[in-house]
């Protein structure tokens, strides 16, 4: 629990989800995420993943999760809102975390969507992703809501969603995804 006091990006430490203290921060950003920033961060993650090599985890999988989280920040955070993004490596694998502010409605939607998916095993998640891919509906940004499923599949369902009260009707939402090392 993180208490019920209002929080802001300046007053909470992160990542909120436990990450081994021995981890190395490979990339960290705080600010508005636009197309250019997103591009730079993807390249930064890619560079670090390649530099550390394959022993840590499947390198492309880490980049794929980072791409999805940054896409979410760009598409769903308020245009002038501050976002956070952090990538940590350990011998156990990688943690990729994003943080942005959401409204009450945004929180409800995320909890509802995650609640529908978290009980599904990997095969069921794959089947659901195929359904969404095959459906004619699209989201406002073209994905049709397949992003969260993709992150769950790429992390073997190792992700955590955390909400911290920030102000009346507003929450800081953090999503932490763990990509385990190959040797785990």
């Amino acid at each position: 629990m993180y208490g019920t006091s209002p929080a802001s990006f300046d007053t909470i430490t992160w990542p909120l989800e436990p990450i081994p203290a021995s981890g190395t921060i490979e990339c960290q950003f705080s600010g508005c995420v636009d197309e250019v920033v997103s591009d730079v961060l993807v390249q930064a993650v890619e560079h670090r993943v390649e530099a550390l090599g394959r022993a840590h985890a499947k390198p492309k999988r880490v980049v794929r999760v980072a791409i999805e989280l940054l896409q979410n920040l760009h598409h769903h955070a308020p245009a002038d809102g501050v976002c956070g993004f952090r990538v940590v490596s350990t011998r156990q694998g990688w943690w990729v975390a994003s943080r942005n502010e959401v409204t009450d409605e945004g929180k409800r939607n995320l909890e509802e969507r995650y609640g529908e998916l978290k009980g599904l095993d990997m095969e069921a998640l794959r089947a659901r992703q195929r359904e969404v891919l095959n459906a004619p509906e699209r989201s406002a940004h073209g994905g049709g809501g397949v992003g969260l499923i993709e992150i769950m599949r790429r992390t073997n369902r190792n992700l955590a969603l955390t909400f911290i009260p920030a102000a009346p009707g507003r929450w800081i939402f953090e999503l932490t995804a763990h990509i385990a090392a190959d040797h785990d």
Partner: protein
């Protein structure tokens, strides 16, 4: 509308769509912010030529990364080819240690009713 040739960028794939040979190739990465706008010219190209060219359309997909909005556009593109009824074959390339791309290819293969080949390439 004839051939399409677009150089890839850090966010968009290299695209080569030609009538001679009749082929459509995407390679690199597809993580544009507006994937619908990026893929629309390819949809138009398929619409314009798939019904009129007699040769089989060879579709080569060699993507390293694609975001989820691109995955939807890619599905729409393949469905458009399928809907025209033209002869086509999809060659889906993936690095032999990249099981994510293999799974993605299998997912498209399961949905799209076109001949589909999953082709592993050796990791460089």
């Amino acid at each position: 509308m004839t051939d399409i040739r677009k150089e890839g960028t850090s966010k968009t794939p290299t695209v080569v769509a030609t009538l001679q040979p009749f082929s459509l190739e995407l390679s690199g990465r597809s993580i544009p912010e507006n994937s619908i706008a990026f893929y629309q010219p390819l949809m138009d190209w398929v619409e314009a030529h798939c019904g009129s060219v007699e040769n089989q359309l060879e579709i080569n997909i060699r993507l390293e990364y694609f975001n989820t909005s691109s995955s939807k556009c890619l599905m729409d593109l393949l469905k458009r080819v399928e809907a025209t009824g033209c002869a086509a074959r999809v060659n889906w390339y993936y690095e032999d240690d990249d099981e994510d791309m293999l799974e993605a290819g299998e997912d498209y293969d399961a949905i799209i009713d076109l001949p589909f080949r999953l082709i592993a390439s050796t990791t460089s």
